[in-house]
Symmetry: C2
Subunit: 120 residues, 2 copies
């Protein structure tokens, strides 16, 4: 994304890291199809890395570590747009995925349809 | 949605309420446009109410209370589809919104574009 330190700082100041372990909720959406791919958490460092490198980075609550999405699978996500919500505790990251988002090989982590109403 | 108690129980058993105050992360998406409208938390009761009534219910972390989306504004959200993610700690709720999702009057809570890459 080639984002300057100043721009990154400006975005950081709009965020309220009020969720678990000093994070915001990050919703990752396919920029082209609109499909929601996954949900995760980002602490300040994860937001910085995401903006500075242009690739999705997340804070893993279970592993207590910063990780670059795709670092083991190669399925990186190129960031196209970042949108902050009204109260600053969630961030919508629109990406171009380099492969499946899910470790199961599914395109999206949301693949277990629990209930569906026929007449949409 | 006219969901039976048995069906609700079946969905509940697929969920891992591991987030703050015994919740899953709930991503609310417009079923028709694919627009992400808001993010919130659902405890077991919120999931039950959402499935049983067919309207989005959430657990408010700040107010420590269950609430029906739209209970003050009238902007209810009719649930069309519910999808659970791979590890069961997040739920995607596709809805038909009866009005703006955001308390600011915006259609979506995600309206502050922080950064945009031109060449999508």
């Amino acid at each position: 994304m080639r984002v300057s330190r100043e721009e990154v700082n400006r975005v950081i100041t709009t965020l309220n890291f009020r969720h678990e372990e000093g994070t915001v909720i990050a919703v990752i959406q396919d920029a082209e199809t609109g499909e929601v791919l996954m949900v995760g958490n980002m602490n300040e460092e994860a937001v910085r890395k995401t903006l500075e490198t242009g690739y999705t980075h997340l804070w893993s609550l279970s592993r207590k570590t910063l990780w670059k999405k795709g670092e083991t699978s190669g399925n990186y996500q190129l960031v196209k747009e970042v949108v902050v919500d009204c109260d600053g505790d969630a961030i919508l990251v629109k990406v171009k995925p380099m492969g499946p988002a899910c470790h199961t090989g599914n395109r999206t982590c949301f693949f277990k349809v629990a209930l569906q109403r026929n007449s949409v």
